[in-house]
């Protein structure tokens, strides 16, 4: 992300009254509302330069935290940095008290509604709502009938999208009950704002968000009342989900495990997490997977995001899922049409906060009205398919309207219509100008003892254009921190209970095996990429050197590159320049980019374990990958200059993990991966470079290249001077246990790490297979005779080649043994009866 361009003009930011309804900042008489004055005065007094810097800093902080919002698209790597506008959405505390009361009541109402839908269904029996509102909705999961949660509420979390209507009152546009997202982004926005605009934030007396999260954590823990120190896990669909950042962020902030489908298994009526120590019981699942996907046995049969048998564990009372399975039905906008009737039936009154007017096409009269007025209305499905967007009549073409009409007529119960709302406008930075943008607020409520609590604030999203219609992360919008400010300096104290729960168990030594596997591979990929990059760099250095290379040397270099990067060998061209081009445009850089992308994938899978410093380096690597590919060289850059920042970033990554990761299993597996890969790469490199017996001076030059690639040249020269001697060189790169890049050094480290891992061997002194194999192969290296290795027979060093090949093969086997023992090799599952899911 590049910073906002800074104009040298000290622009005075003006934001005049809009002179129409929907102005959040000014009252009807054109005077600025009191709660906006401080923020507006502060912002407008900042110079353009300062504002630009702050904006840039905010983007950097978001990027370092890995705050992304993935966009549904073919390209898996298409994730965006979360957008944050520096001007908060300011809400006065009196106004907020009204909003809060309305939303707390609404959460209570939806809780009662949820209980009725999966309980007696009195609202249907007594004709309060037409049966089809529930029965025709795919979100109504019949398998969830009768499931109840411990405590006063079944609906654990409720989020609502609210906008200020034309009358100045807030109204509900939509309820979010499936697995409400956004609270984590709201927290991230707050964290960044308090760092980027510290004094403005401090002096505004903004209500804090921490209480909400404490309440959320307490609620989750309280869902398992009968076990001390219950284990809570956040179930995520994985890194490709659009809000994965938030899943990892929340899991980390709340101190819960982050798990995916494959980390979990049902056994004996309980849910377990597969970890290095065996199976650990999970008591509460905070679900970020849609309910319909959570159990292939009873819900959607072809789902790969859930856990087979989960629902029965819930039914048996051995697991609580929050929000409860089935809660997605409450999101149906068809319910908005009947919300007043539902309120009267369940609460004895109409809800105090109004909802947007809604016509449901399952009602004949409504359908008639909707079909006659399609051009003015917004059409929404009662059950959203992923990626399905609303239809906006005023912006639709004739053809689209005809199409929509046909869709409604074919299945009227699936659609509702709402008027196109003109939401109120918030001052928003566009470059350095303040412009009005339509804003929508998502609020978050969590159940507590007796009542719900509302996050004071929430996630404000604004459209990118003045008349923006769809405001959601999917279609491009930016967000704002939401400040509920006290009109008087003293803050209202919150009455939330202190967090008295004990510290979570085992401080994440007990990780899902999937995370460990990803860390192991992250280590391997990082090391593989680094060694390939080093070799490429050495090759460029030699090719750019004073002396031209012989054909044999070019051949050896090309062989080495193709072996390390595992690409097909191409015959080297006749000149050094042509060889540079061939290396740059050949398959090797693309292969290295592939390795780096794999590494990034593993890093994403283990995101919750990586610090933001680490993430910054990972982002640097991500940004540098396109440079590897041919044609992308920025002006004047030589191919080797492109490699330097990547090598440095990879070394920084190694240093950071070494210095700042606790020595838990996570670190150990990453370290194992690195060491195994480094030994393998060294074996390959020594074989490829020194295997052919070259005549002098080529032999010395290639040996120097090897030392350069393995960072041993300086040591070698200090020890032996400039005198090339193959045996001394082999001594340094293979046997020297003081050289952190030698094979023997790696072997020692691998052995130490293996011994720290849990082993359940049957006998006290029998070694586990991986350890045995390692001792065998390290002994073989240790026992080598350097003169035999250096011996040339018929133009090649046969013993050296054989030994290096054997070493590589042995390490591959050891890696497999580690995988077999510690990683979960899941069998593929299938449905006993593959039912068909027509139209669903």
């Amino acid at each position: 992300m590049s910073d906002i361009p800074i104009t040298p003009v000290s622009a005075h930011l003006g934001y005049p009254p809009l002179q129409r309804s929907g102005d959040e900042v000014y009252g009807p008489d054109g005077t600025m509302l009191p709660h906006w004055q401080y923020v507006m005065n502060t912002v407008t007094s900042l110079s353009g330069t300062v504002l630009g810097e702050r904006q840039g800093k905010a983007q950097r902080l978001l990027r370092d935290d890995g705050a992304t919002y993935n966009i549904y698209s073919e390209d898996a790597s298409d994730s965006r940095i979360w957008g944050l506008d520096l001007i908060p959405n300011v809400i006065g505390s009196e106004d907020w008290a009204d909003i809060e009361a309305g939303l707390l009541e609404r959460a209570e109402l939806l809780n009662l509604l949820l209980r009725d839908i999966y309980g007696p269904r009195n609202l249907i029996r007594t004709g309060v709502i037409p049966p089809e509102v529930i029965f025709a909705n795919r979100g109504f999961l019949r398998a969830c009938q009768g499931i109840r949660l411990p405590g006063d509420h079944d609906l654990t979390m409720h989020a609502a999208d609210v906008v200020r209507g034309p009358d100045g009152r807030m109204m509900v546009l939509a309820d979010r009950t499936q697995s409400p997202s956004g609270a984590g982004y709201a927290l991230e926005n707050r964290t960044v704002m308090s760092r980027v605009m510290p004094s403005m934030f401090r002096d505004s007396h903004v209500h804090r968000l921490a209480g909400y999260f404490r309440q959320l954590r307490n609620k989750m823990l309280s869902l398992c009342p009968h076990r001390p120190n219950p284990r809570v896990a956040v179930l995520t669909p994985g890194p490709r989900n659009e809000t994965y950042f938030e899943h990892a962020y929340m899991a980390n902030y709340l101190g819960f495990y982050l798990v995916q489908s494959d980390d979990l298994v049902v056994r004996g009526g309980f849910l377990w997490m597969k970890s290095l120590d065996g199976l650990s019981r999970v008591d509460v699942l905070m679900r970020r997977v849609d309910d319909w996907f959570c159990d292939p046995v009873e819900l959607r049969g072809d789902s790969r995001l859930g856990v087979a048998g989960l629902l029965e564990v819930v039914r048996a009372g051995n697991l609580v899922v929050a929000n409860p399975l089935g809660s997605g039905i409450l999101e149906s906008p068809a319910l908005l049409k009947y919300v007043n009737e539902i309120g009267r039936a369940l609460l004895g009154r109409e809800p105090r906060m109004p909802s947007v007017q809604t016509w449901w096409c399952g009602d004949a009269k409504d359908a008639q009205y909707v079909l006659a007025n399609l051009e003015q209305l917004v059409i929404k499905p009662t059950y959203r398919k992923p990626g399905e967007l609303s239809f906006c009549g005023p912006q639709a073409s004739k053809e689209q309207i005809t199409q929509m009409r046909a869709m409604i007529q074919a299945d009227p119960m699936r659609y509702v219509a709402q008027p196109l709302l003109e939401s109120s406008y918030l001052p928003t930075l566009n470059g350095l100008a303040l412009e009005p943008r339509p804003g929508i607020l998502r609020t978050f409520a969590v159940a507590g003892t007796g009542s719900y609590s509302l996050m004071p604030g929430g996630l404000t999203r604004v459209g990118l254009e003045e008349g923006a219609f769809l405001i959601s992360g999917q279609t491009g919008a930016t967000s704002k921190d939401t400040w509920v400010v006290a009109s008087e300096p003293e803050r209202i104290t919150t009455n939330l209970p202190e967090d008295t729960s004990p510290v979570r168990d085992s401080e994440f030594t007990n990780l899902p095996s999937r995370v460990l596997e990803n860390l192991y591979w992250m280590g391997r990929y990082a090391e593989r990429a680094e060694s390939c990059l080093r070799l490429l760099r050495t090759s460029y250095t030699m090719l750019n050197g004073e002396e031209l290379l012989s054909g044999e040397l070019r051949q050896v270099l090309m062989t080495s590159v193709s072996q390390l990067a595992t690409v097909a060998f191409t015959t080297p061209p006749a000149t050094d320049e042509a060889m540079i081009d061939s290396l740059r445009q050949g398959d090797a850089p693309r292969a290295i980019a592939g390795v780096l992308n794999s590494m990034l994938f593993c890093a994403d899978e283990a995101k919750e374990l990586l610090s933001s410093d680490t993430y910054r380096v990972i982002n640097d690597i991500r940004d540098a990958i396109p440079l590897l590919e041919a044609g992308n060289l920025p002006g004047g850059m030589t191919p080797d200059e492109v490699l330097d920042p990547l090598v440095t970033a990879l070394m920084a990554l190694a240093g950071l993990t070494h210095e700042s990761m606790t020595r838990g299993y996570g670190w150990r597996f990453m370290e194992l991966g690195r060491r195994v890969e480094r030994s393998m790469q060294t074996a390959k490199l020594v074989g490829a470079m020194l295997g052919p017996g070259l005549p002098e001076p080529d032999q010395s030059r290639i040996a120097e290249a090897l030392l350069l690639t393995l960072e041993g040249l300086i040591t070698y020269r200090r020890r032996y001077g400039a005198r090339p001697d193959l045996r001394s060189e082999l001594d340094l790169v293979l046997l020297d246990t003081d050289n952190p890049r030698s094979v023997m050094y790696q072997m020692g480290t691998i052995l130490r790490q293996l011994r720290k891992l849990p082993s359940n061997a049957g006998y006290l002194h029998e070694l586990p297979p991986a350890e045995k194999a390692l001792i065998e192969c390290s002994t073989r290296v240790r026992l080598s005779t350097l003169s035999e290795l250096a011996d040339v027979d018929n133009g090649s060093r046969k013993t050296l080649l054989a030994e290096m090949k054997a070493l590589d093969a042995a390490l591959m086997e050891i890696s497999d043994m580690i995988g077999d023992r510690y990683f979960d090799h899941r069998e593929s599952s299938q449905q006993l009866v593959a039912a068909r899911w027509e139209g669903l």
């Binding site: 029965f135 056994r267 292939p296 029965e312 039914r315 069998e827 599952s829 006993l832 039912a835």
Partner: protein
């Protein structure tokens, strides 16, 4: 009539199944016209976990988990049940007319009508379509009684369709059944439900067993009976009335109900997820219905 039913389902897998989670609907529910005296389900290999419950539709569900590696799975359900004839099998022509039914379905606020509306709607295996309406509409004239029209539709399906076990599988869509005019009991039940729903009536899918009698003078073969499927239509004021398009009859004492739902998916005798197992598991089913 009192029956003893033995229903054995056996799976053979091409390769080892390490563990599995299953859900069986093999114990008959007690209804207006039958009482389930007892029902026992045995599974081999041993179970890690089992439970019984009533599902959303009021059907009996037996849910289990196996954690032992196995290459075959056998489920034996043994049931004693007492059945009675349907109450509504008097004169079908005298009941409430199709036009009245449709108007009541729309307007009545009575609880049973409101709840029955669930069965007017599309379900995962049955979607209303003009072809189904066209197939049946001429029989459902406004002044004709719904039940008489239903009996006529049952007869039409029986006459125009060929029973052919090899023609279809669970995954065969209804439109194909309609085109080939071939299928099994499950297809015919789905088809008649689709016709009824396409015209705005409420109908549900009923699964169960049918006692078959050997030809005169012959011994009954063991395992010769089968699981069966038919449907039930809702008539406001008259309740649910069952029809069997496979045999062109009104189900009676010989039709033993196991479960009902919107379609086959709601009442699958055995479903679940297995880990491993290779491709194409081999399934055999044997059913014995004997009078006691």
């Amino acid at each position: 009539m009192k029956y003893l039913i033995k229903h054995i389902t056996a799976y053979k897998y091409a390769s080892r199944v390490s563990h599995c989670y299953n859900l069986a609907q093999m114990s008959p529910r007690t209804t207006q016209r039958q009482t389930c005296i007892n029902s026992r389900i045995e599974v081999s290999p041993d179970l890690a976990m089992e439970s019984r419950r009533e599902d959303y539709f009021g059907n009996q569900v037996f849910q289990f988990e196996i954690q032992k590696p196995h290459k075959s799975l056998t489920i034996t359900a043994t049931t004693q049940v007492e059945t009675r004839p349907q109450i509504a099998d008097t004169n079908l022509d005298l009941g409430i007319t199709c036009a009245e039914v449709l108007s009541k379905m729309r307007q009545s606020k009575s609880e049973d009508v409101l709840l029955a509306r669930e069965y007017q709607l599309n379900s995962s295996m049955i979607a209303a379509a003009p072809e189904f309406r066209d197939f049946a509409a001429d029989l459902f004239t406004p002044d004709r009684s719904l039940l008489s029209a239903c009996a006529a539709l049952t007869e039409r399906i029986f006459n125009e369709f060929t029973y052919s076990p090899l023609a279809t599988t669970i995954a065969t869509p209804l439109s194909e059944v309609m085109a080939t005019r071939k299928g099994v009991c499950q297809d015919f039940a789905h088809l008649q439900i689709a016709c009824l729903r396409s015209m705005g009536f409420a109908a549900k899918y009923v699964s169960g067993y049918l006692e078959t009698l050997p030809p005169p003078g012959q011994e009954k073969l063991v395992g010769a009976d089968a699981t069966h499927a038919w449907l039930s239509v809702f008539s406001p004021g008259e309740g649910w009335v069952e029809f069997d398009p496979t045999n062109n009859c009104l189900p009676s004492e010989q039709h033993i109900i196991t479960a009902w739902g919107r379609d086959f998916n709601d009442v699958t005798p055995l479903k679940g997820v297995i880990f491993g197992g290779g491709s194409a598991p081999e399934m055999t089913v044997s059913v014995d219905v004997s009078r006691v």
